[in-house]
Amino acid sequence: MASFNWITALIGGILIGLSATVLLAGNGRIAGISGMINGAIRFSASEAWRWVFLAGMLAGGAIYEYGFAAQPTPTSNFAPVLMIVGGLLVGIGTRVGNGCTSGHGVCGLGRLSARSLVAVLTFLATAFITVYLVRHVFN
């Protein structure tokens, strides 16, 4: 794996923060991706802007990967069981807990929401424990 590059990490993070800023200042909406997807799959005309945002994310990712990346993003081994189990838990958890890393993290912490701080500390804690168990106990 390429070594850690704090400059691109920081600039990437700032761009994400600017994205949330543009969406809130322009449209009054929170850039939380789990909520964005959940709203989009209601398929109502008033939610069409969510599809535009999600398409923009794919376009932005593709522009970086195929236009700017010094080397292709590394791809890890195909891990179907981890993807299915992990994806299901992420889907259930973000629906029940009303948000993910972007909604509670980037936007919630930006609003100084105590509720989001609790959510962030909780999902970080269980993620740390889960990775420890997966990599160092059951491996």
């Binding site: 691109t8 993070g13 761009l15 932005g60 629906r95 807990g97 970080l124 269980t126 990599r135 160092h136």
Partner: protein
């Protein structure tokens, strides 16, 4: 203007996730693996993002309305209830297992590999299942109240 704003915001978000390497699940898992060779990338990404929003949101929310809209759609819930903590805990487990959260999982679809495809399908099933569970729970609660 609203549509253009959503598009620009989406592009910034996806580009930022790519540039910061968050669409590489090994990077994310490297951050979450405190007992391994710890990778601080995610800390800088989240720090950079929150560093911006914590400043800009103060000014935005102080305005009476957004530039192209009638009002701000902000979360109204304030209470820290078991539902929030249980949901966040389940999300964290899934994040630790897969190395993806919804934003990077979606954006990683552009890499043309199978992992994010499976993750996103499972995410959608889990999310709809989670809504179903919430509905069951709510209707049960209402029955109790009515009785």
């Amino acid at each position: 203007m609203k549509t253009l704003t959503a598009l620009i915001a989406g592009i910034l978000f996806g580009f930022g996730l790519g540039l910061s390497q968050m669409i590489d699940r090994e990077r994310v898992l490297g951050f979450l693996d405190l007992a391994g060779t710890w990778d601080p990338t995610l800390l800088f990404v989240l720090g950079g993002a929150v560093g911006v929003t914590v400043i800009t949101f103060r000014f935005i929310i102080g305005r009476s309305r957004p530039f192209w809209g009638e009002k701000f759609y902000l979360p109204t819930k304030q209470d820290i209830d078991p539902r929030l903590v249980i949901g966040a805990a389940i999300f964290g487990m899934g994040w630790g297992i897969s190395g993806y959260c919804p934003g990077p999982g979606l954006t990683a679809l552009v890499l043309g590999i199978a992992n994010p495809v499976l993750f996103m399908v499972a995410f959608l099933v889990g999310s709809l299942g989670g809504q179903w569970l919430l509905n069951q729970f709510q209707s049960k609660q209402q029955l109790t109240i009515n009785n």
